[in-house]
Every structure is written in structure tokens, then in C-alpha cells.
Amino acid sequence: MKSKWVAMTVCVLFAAALLAGCGGGEKAEKYPTKPITMYINFGAGGSTDLSARSLAKAAEKHLGVSIVAVNKPGANGVTGVAELKNGSKDGQTIGVMTFASVAIIPNQTKVPYTPDDFEGIIAYGQYQYCVAVKADSPYKTIADLSKAAKAKPDGFSFSASGYPQPFVANRIGEKDGAKFRYVNFKSGTETMTALIGGHVDFTVVTTGDLLPFLKSGEVRVLASAGEKRMPEAPDAPTLKELGYDIAIVSWLGLGAPAGIPKDKLNILREAFKKAANDPEFLNTMKTVNLPPTNTSGDEFKKKLVDGYKEIGDYFKQIGQKK
């Protein structure tokens, strides 16, 4: 009998403590107190996955809670971003957003979101692109390439793994009057395999995917498609230097569903801003050949919104609509 009373008292006390705990939490508006879920829109082991995990690991130190990474790969990154949109708006769900999946693909196909459905937390990586041929190819410059392509009625084929890469070849082709046909591959490594195997004439690829083959001497860079020359191929000019009006970079960052309370968003932004300077994170970025950046969430969102519009206009212009 006595023991029953003790048990009941303990239970009541326990329940009271639990309720008190809840109340306290609400009043103080402490955030974060629970583990945060982070969706990664590509599979485990890729550069997106490795970099995001590394950044999250660094941010955990500043947030004081753990970040649980969940891979939601598929449909060029759309699946994971769609999942993020449906995630909780109370700051418990964040996710990786890539420029292509948020700003480009929604112009090509029906997806359940637009860039306005998200807030940016940080942009932490930049993809840079270049135009390259096999090392034993006779073409040494972009002009060589265009000239040879013009001489052939079918033009040349090039490998790339999704937009914005083909924009680069399109712009060169428009200016020089050459025809370039875009052969789409699923990943950067497949893009490189097609080039090395001699199945396409040239490639527009991210510098990260290219570097191992540049080191082994199997490819030659004809031009950098970014604002600057590639440090690893300093002799190759940028397309801008050559007079082509194009310089592209693509962004990689984190976001949260729109509607997240402003104060919580700011806590996340602060934490990830610090995390992006973490030496271990920067080391990971170097390993996966991704140029790091520490761009604010607002600016990241602006890039996505502007890019979405710009590219939509471009597709309308060339007559490729969804």
C-alpha cells in the first residue's frame, strides 16, 4: 500500500516537472533545443553530401544541438528540395538548395515549389565551369573548336550534366555560328567518361569533376566559363576575355521553408556563417574541389529568385518551355 503511494507521488511529481519544463521552454523561446533535420538533395558520398555534412558538423558547435543529415536524392535534386518545402516551418527543418534545382529546373519542368517558398540561410559553395577537350584533340583554342564545328553540317556534340552548363556552349555557338549538340549525362563523372572515351567532341564541366583528369594529363582546358581563370589552368583564358558575353557560377547553400520565424532564421544564419570559416570544413571543400564562399542568406535567396527569372526568360527566348 505504502509503495503504491510512493509510486503515485513520484509519477505526479514527474508529470509536474515535465509540464513545468514545457512551459518554461515556451516562455523563454529558447532555440534550438531539439536536433535539427537537414535534408540533402543528393546521394551520400557526392560533393554536395560531403560538403553539407561537414558544414553541419561545424555548425553543431555553435548551435549546441545536433544536426541530423537525411539524404533525399532524386530528380536532379528536386526531390530533396520539395521535401524541404513540406518540412516544418519552426526551424526544425533545413535543407540543401542547389542553384539548378531551385532556379533552373523549375523553368523546365513542373515542380511543387518556386524560389519564393524558401528563405536562404547561407550559400557556402560555388560551382565553376570550364570548356575542355581530350588531351589528344587537335583543338587548342575555342576558336579552333568553333571553326571545326562550323565545317561540319552536324556540328559537334558535347557532354554536360544539366543546366547551366549548356548555356556556355549555346553562347559560343550563337556568336560563332557553330552548331553544338548537348548530350546530357547524369553526373560529372559520367560527363568526363564520355569525353575521355572519345564519345563526344568536348565537354562543359565543373572544375571539381575535371581536376583529377587535368592532373593526369588526359584533358586540356580551352577556357574558363567563370569570371576568373582557373588557378590549375592559368593559360586558359576566360570566355569573357575571348569576347563571349557569358560568365556563370552556380551556387550551393542551405535554406529553410519560408515562414520560419525571423529570430530563428537569424540564429541559424549566425551559426552557419561562423561554421563556414571552420578549418575542417574548408579542408573538406578543398578535397571535393568545391570553391567555398560565405555568402549571406539574403543574397543567396536573391540569386535564386533572379536566376529563376533570368533563365525562365532565356528558355522562352529559345522556345524551350516546360
Binding site: G43, A44, G45, G46, S47, D49, L50, R53, A69, V70, N71, K72, P73, G74, A75, N76, V78, T79, A82, I105, Q108, T109, K110, V111, P112, D154, G155, S157, R181, Y182, V183, N184, F185, K186, S187, T189, E190, M192, T193, A194, I196, G197, G198, H199, V200, L211, P212, F213, K215, S216, E218, N283, T284, T287, V288, N289, K322
Partner: protein, 496 residues
């Protein structure tokens, strides 16, 4: 070469690395046996853990999981007709029939021995020829893949026991299902009925477990009044000398085929098991036994898919080109440790390459030791009452399917395909061709469209390239010979 092997032994024979190797193959066998959670899911779960262990150890562990899973994958195919991955679909055809006839132990034994031999052949190949053969793989561009896939699809008709026409229909349904999701070229949504869930398409594991596992359970429910057990007579547990003699040829041929085809990125293991089955059926004096529990139908394909698992490492380690999802994860594991896989990997980190190769020899021996004694235990599983076994299969497949993508929708798809599988069995359609076509379909489609863009719409690209022409001719010959054989047969029937 000798020095390099010694270096490999130095790395692989440290206590910790032997332990990692043993842990890897044990875990691999376990996940291979359990349907659903395949090597891809397991390795992606474990990947973050490898941050903190040395590079060689982590690759030894992860590769152990991979070839261990290939080894274990045949177990459920044979015992309960539940192939956990695409490569063991073919094994299920005759393996499950053998189990039904009380020869489950023999089938498991042959699968284990075949896997061991094939695994060893692949490692020797990796050891001796890695740098030479890797160049061969990149000769395969999109047109060559189209031809290879067309050939693979024609082999599917060999899987049929009764009517090739039913196999063709089954395969066509598989190809249609493969179309669901985002168009690989232009990114449009296809057959998604306006839902987001179908954007990423259907998952192989879900379809296979539905058609085979749940379908079988439903089918058994119907007949459970008569048969309480899958079989009550278990004649022998280990393969006899006669069995071994019958399996020797298929194992040898399967190993070589698997090694060569496994080098090719995408679908290498699946194609090699199909190829081996077709070859064995063709060479057999009693092709009518195939599909009824022919030991050659287990020995050949099972050896082929294990050899392919080994040779898949070659493009990754010598060129930096991952050939399947597991290899892509290995690529990630290497990058975590600051090693970018590429043409210089063997030169830059020889201790890694040779250490992993030697650990595979050790792992293969461990697997044999681990698996042979288990056969007796696994076979006893068949003595469990069918009503209990079926319920377990249903629960395990549901959990397994959920674990693949953490998605409840997949569980509904599983049940739907369970009903489809039941109906197919009822109307004597086989699920094998459907799931295999489902796996090969996307590779075929992508490569076909890539080829036509490369050739600017000219289909001549498929016949002007020698490798592609060769495969297409082979496919043509195959169809012709089958039509001819059928005609001859029907004439004979007519005369009689």
C-alpha cells in the same frame, strides 16, 4: 608485383584490418540475407562513421560489406523467392525451385562455392589486369550501351519456362514502369499523375520485393490448406560430387563472364547474370530443366554476379570512375579521407590499393567459412510453418522497403505490386523479366537518346561502331535461333 603484394599483406594483415574485414563481410552477409536494406543503404549509413577510422580500414570495411552482401543476397532468393537486389533475380528462378524440391542446401552450397570461386577469380583479375582492362571499359559509349542492353533484353526471353511471349509481355511492362518519373533528357514529369511522390520514379527494391516476396506470400495463402511447409523433405544439405561436377563448368564460365561484364559501368552485374543464365541454358543438354530447379541455373548466374562485384572496383580504383551506386559511395569515402580517385590512385596510395586487394582474398575465405556452416541453419528455416514464415516475410519486406527511402508511400507501392505479383503468378506470367527490364530500361533509354544526339538523329550510329554492331548481331542471332528452334519443335509436334 611481389613487392606490391607484400605491401598489401602488410596492410591487410594488421589485427585491426583483419577485424574490419571480418566485420564488413559479416555485416554484408547479414544485410544481403535481409531483404530491403541493401549494400547501398548500409554503406551510406556507415559512411559518416568512416570519418574517424584510417583510410585503408574504411575501404576494407565498406568493400567487405559490398561483396559480403553479394554473397548473402542469394540466400533469400533461394529460400523464400525474395531477391534482395537485381543481380540475384536470376538466381531465384532455379534456386527457389530447388528449395521447393528439398534441395535448398545444395543450392545454397553451390551458390556459396560459386561465389567463392568467382570472387577469387575477380580478385586475381583485379590484381593482375586492373591497369590494362580499365581502358576497355571507357570504349563503351552510349551506342555500345544501347546494343548491350538490347542484347540483355533479348536474353530475358531465355528466362521463360513456358512461353517466351509471356516473358516479352512481362518485360514490356517492366520497361513501361521504368519510364515513370522525370524524363532523363528534358526533365519533364512522366506518368506521375500529377503527384510529387512519383517524380523520383519507382524503386527497384520495392517492385522486386512486392512481386516476388509479397506476391509469393499471397499465393501461398491460397494454397496453404494443402501445403503447410514449402517442403517437408530435405534430402541432402550439402552438394554431392555429382552436383559439383555439374556446377563446375557454369561456375568457371560465369566467373569469367562476370569479371568482363562487371567492368562496364551500370548494370554490369545484372547483365552478367542474365548472360550466364542464357549461356548455360544454351549449352545444356536438358534446357527444359531450367526453371524447374537446374543446378547450372544457380551456379552460373550466382558466380557471374559475384565476379562482377569484384571487377566493378577496377574502373573506380584505376580511372576514378564509379560504375554503380556502391562504387559512387566508395568514391565519397575516399574523398572524405582526402584521396581523389583517379588514374594516379595506385601510384599515389599503393598501400590502399594493394591492401584492399589482399583484404578481399582474406574476406572471401572468411565468407566461405562463415556461410557453409550456416547452410544447415538456413535450411531449417524452411521447416517453419508457412503461416508464420509468410507473416515474417511480409513484416520484414515492409520494414525493408521503408528503410530504403524512409518513405511510407513505398510501402503502399510494395503492397500494390504484391497483388500484381499474385495475379501474375495466377496467370502464369513470370515476375523475373519484369524487374530485369525495369532495371535495364532506364540505362537503355538514356543511352539511346544520348546516342541519337551524338549522331544528330542518325540511327546508323548503332551499326557503324564495331562493338555495338557485334552485340546487336548477337541479339539478332539469338532471336533467330529461338524462332527457328520453336518452328522445328512445332513441326515435330505436328508430325507426331
Amino acid at each position: 608485383m611481389f613487392d606490391q603484394m607484400m605491401l598489401g599483406f602488410q596492410v591487410a594483415l594488421t589485427y585491426s584490418n583483419i577485424l574490419y574485414c571480418a566485420a564488413g563481410v559479416t555485416l554484408g552477409t547479414a544485410i544481403g540475407v535481409l531483404p530491403g536494406l541493401g549494400p547501398v543503404a548500409t554503406i551510406s549509413l556507415l559512411l559518416p562513421l568512416t570519418y574517424s577510422i584510417p583510410l585503408e580500414s574504411s575501404i576494407i570495411l565498406l568493400s567487405g560489406i559490398y561483396y559480403g552482401a553479394m554473397y548473402g543476397g542469394s540466400t533469400t532468393s533461394i529460400l523464400v523467392n525474395l531477391p534482395g537486389e537485381a543481380a540475384s533475380v536470376v538466381t531465384a528462378l532455379d534456386g527457389y525451385q530447388m528449395a521447393k524440391k528439398g534441395r535448398a542446401g545444395v543450392a545454397l552450397g553451390i551458390a556459396a562455392i560459386g561465389s567463392f570461386v568467382a570472387g577469387t577469380v575477380a580478385i586475381v583479375g583485379l590484381n593482375l589486369f586492373a591497369p590494362i582492362v580499365s581502358r576497355w571499359a571507357i570504349k563503351f559509349g552510349p551506342p555500345e550501351y544501347v546494343a548491350l542492353m538490347v542484347m540483355g533484353l533479348t536474353f530475358i526471353t531465355y528466362l521463360s519456362t513456358k512461353s517466351p511471349l509471356r516473358s516479352v509481355i512481362s518485360a514490356l511492362i517492366g520497361l513501361l514502369l521504368a519510364v515513370i518519373g522525370v524524363d532523363p533528357e528534358y526533365g519533364g514529369a512522366r506518368l506521375t499523375f500529377g503527384t510529387d511522390t512519383l517524380l523520383s520514379g519507382l524503386d527497384f527494391a520495392v517492385i522486386a520485393m512486392g512481386l516476388f516476396g509479397v506476391g509469393e506470400v499471397l499465393y501461398c495463402l491460397e494454397t496453404s490448406g494443402e501445403a503447410k511447409l514449402i517442403t517437408d523433405k530435405i534430402s541432402q544439405v550439402f552438394p554431392s560430387r555429382k552436383d559439383l561436377a555439374a556446377a563446375a563448368g557454369p561456375i568457371t564460365r560465369g566467373s569469367v563472364l562476370g569479371f568482363l561484364v562487371g567492368l562496364l559501368p551500370g548494370g554490369g552485374a545484372v547483365i552478367s547474370s542474365l548472360l550466364s543464365y542464357a549461356v548455360e541454358k544454351r549449352l545444356s543438354k536438358h534446357p527444359e530443366e531450367f526453371g524447374q530447379g537446374a543446378i547450372q541455373g544457380v551456379a552460373g548466374p550466382e558466380s557471374a554476379n559475384n565476379a562482377a562485384a569484384g571487377s566493378a572496383f577496377i574502373p573506380l580504383l584505376t580511372l576514378g570512375l564509379p560504375s554503380n551506386a556502391v562504387m559512387a559511395l566508395m568514391f565519397g569515402a575516399l574523398m572524405i579521407h582526402g584521396v581523389t580517385p583517379g588514374p594516379f590512385l595506385i601510384k599515389e596510395v599503393p598501400e590502399l590499393f594493394w591492401g584492399v586487394v589482399v583484404s578481399m582474398y582474406i574476406g572471401n575465405v572468411l565468407l566461405l567459412i562463415l556461410n557453409l556452416p550456416m547452410i544447415g541453419l538456413f535450411v531449417k528455416l524452411l521447416k517453419v510453418r508457412l503461416s508464420i514464415l509468410s507473416a515474417c516475410v511480409l513484416v520484414i519486406t515492409l520494414i525493408g522497403v521503408y528503410s530504403v527511402n524512409n518513405n511510407v508511400f513505398d510501402m503502399w507501392v510494395l503492397l500494390l505490386f504484391g497483388i500484381v505479383g499474385y495475379l501474375m503468378r495466377k496467370f502464369e506470367f513470370e515476375p523475373g523479366p519484369l524487374v530485369l527490364a525495369f532495371v535495364l530500361g532506364p540505362i537503355l533509354e538514356t543511352a539511346f537518346r544520348q546516342s541519337l544526339i551524338i549522331s544528330n538523329g542518325n540511327p546508323g550510329i548503332f551499326v557503324t561502331r564495331p562493338i555495338s554492331l557485334f552485340f546487336l548481331c548477337l541479339a539478332g542471332l539469338l532471336v533467330a535461333s529461338q524462332l527457328f528452334a520453336r518452328k522445328k519443335k512445332s513441326e515435330q509436334n505436328y508430325e507426331a
